[in-house]
């Protein structure tokens, strides 16, 4: 049976919609509805100051938020430098800088409530 260990030791790669944690997404959308209109063009990532120096991807921040991947999000979000260039180029006029700020606030709140380690 040892040969089949990989089946249980690695988490499934499948995106399980039923396991989405939408708490953070809901709190962002409450304050920044423009986030809904993202069409994943990547303009933000192309111009991102942090993304050109590190593996930070600001477009994927939005994707993680939608998918409820809060643990990963809380690590990635720290890489943003708040320069705001993403907001300048966004063709949907999303206030991306504010979205990042709201994510940070939301994560801080979850941490104080000891929901997130």
């Amino acid at each position: 049976m040892k040969d089949l260990d990989f089946l249980t030791s690695t988490p499934s790669r499948q995106i399980d919609y039923e396991k989405f944690d939408t708490r953070l997404l809901d709190s962002v959308l409450e304050n920044e509805t423009s986030f809904l209109t993202c069409m994943s063009c990547g303009g933000c990532t192309a111009t991102c100051s942090a993304g050109n120096l590190t593996n930070f991807n600001v477009r994927k921040i939005g994707l993680m938020l939608r998918r409820g991947e809060i643990d990963q999000l809380s690590v990635e979000i720290e890489k943003c430098m708040f320069c705001g260039k993403c907001t300048l180029v966004c063709p949907r006029d999303i206030n991306i800088r504010n979205v990042v700020l709201l994510i940070k606030k939301g994560i801080a709140l979850l941490k104080t409530e000891n929901i997130l380690s």
């Binding site: 063009c41 990547g42 303009g43 990532t45 192309a46 111009t47 180029v89 063709p91 949907r92 006029d93």
Partner: protein, 345 residues
């Protein structure tokens, strides 16, 4: 069918106006076609190839021009209508104080104007020598000029940028101009025919190839012409000391920022409502839709009817359209005008 021939004013001598005028003339109506430029034919007189068959737009224009020499049609060029008013049964059209005419009905075929690419400052149009628009490239090919950089070199790599001034809240246009994607693919093929050694990249957000033969052209571009497609919106272009350009986008499919050096950039500029729409809508008689194009009375049942009875419309004053759609739309407008008068009898 009628005692006195009805008189219809057609405003705009592009292909929509030409087709509407000739169809109505054939049906027995008297037409005055008014064009603000010196010649009829509109934007097509500046264009080199039509998608999807790569045919010469001059064929379309010359067919329509000869149809205009009908005895029922009077063409007035270099004249822009500045005012329309309703005077009893008639519409009165004025061009400043120089011209005034009465008509029983009006067909507006005032078309579009191209997005001014210099408004997207970060793309460098008008600032950098080797940034062109799709219209510049068409004119270059129409005049049979070889495709060269500003310093006369053969470009080795060209980037074609989709959605310039379209689907862009920052440019004030949230709608899709619809024909640019296929135009980009057609131009990529034409470039490859002229510069077989040049690499061609299309930067797109979504490829909107809505026509039945458009995907076939996409396949041809990939198979025969080695055109490459990168899914990502251009964020900025910068000019290097040798006048080549560095562009930045995200390669969204690999999820990483991408940098590329190119010798030339082609910006696929979209369609904006013709400026002259303001002349028709100023007094509130004709309404505009959310994108600034002329609003139709019913999007399904009455596409050629404006919000004012007796004023019809055809072509790209309604929304962005291809050449074949514009011509079909013009014929349907002619039919609506005929129905309108026959019901009045």
């Amino acid at each position: 069918m009628m005692n006195k021939p009805r008189h219809i004013a057609v405003i705009g001598g592009g292909i929509a106006g030409m087709e509407t005028a000739s169809r109505l003339a054939q049906a027995g109506y008297k037409i005055t076609l008014i064009e603000k430029e010196r010649i009829t034919g509109g934007h097509l007189t500046q264009w080199s190839h039509l998608f999807p068959d790569s045919s010469d737009p001059a064929i379309v224009v010359s067919r329509l021009s000869s149809a205009l020499s009908h005895q029922n049609i009077k063409v007035i060029t270099s004249t822009e209508i500045t005012d329309i008013s309703k005077n009893g049964q008639y519409f009165n059209l004025k061009s400043g104080s120089e011209m005034s005419l009465n008509a029983d009905a009006i067909v507006v075929t005032s078309g579009f104007h191209l997005f001014d690419a210099s408004r997207k400052e970060e793309y460098g149009y008008g600032l950098f020598d080797n940034v062109l628009t799709s219209a510049d490239l068409e004119l270059m090919m129409k005049n049979e000029k070889p495709i060269r950089t500003a310093s006369g070199k053969k470009p080795r790599r060209i980037a074609i940028i989709h959605c310039v001034g379209s689907r862009d809240a920052k440019a004030g246009n949230t709608y899709c101009s619809k024909v640019c994607c296929i135009t980009g693919i057609k131009q990529a093929i034409e470039l490859n025919k002229r510069l077989p050694e040049c690499e061609i990249f299309c930067f797109y957000m979504d490829l909107r190839l809505y026509g039945s033969s458009f995907d076939g052209l996409y396949l041809t571009a990939q198979q025969k012409h080695k055109v490459q497609f990168i899914r990502g919106r251009l964020s900025e272009a910068a000019e290097k000391p040798d006048k080549s350009l560095q562009i930045k986008a995200e390669d969204t499919l690999s999820g990483r920022p991408l940098r590329m050096d190119v010798d030339m950039i082609i910006l696929l500029v979209g369609m904006e409502p013709g400026i002259s729409h303001n002349n028709f809508s100023r007094n509130g008689s004709v309404q505009l839709d959310e994108n600034g194009f002329l609003k139709c009375k019913d999007v399904h049942a009455a596409r050629n009817l404006t919000t004012q009875t007796g004023i019809f419309m055809a072509g790209t004053c309604i929304c962005p359209m291809s050449v074949s759609e514009t011509l079909e739309n013009a014929r349907s407008a002619a039919l609506e005008v005929i129905n309108y008068f026959e019901r009045k009898m």
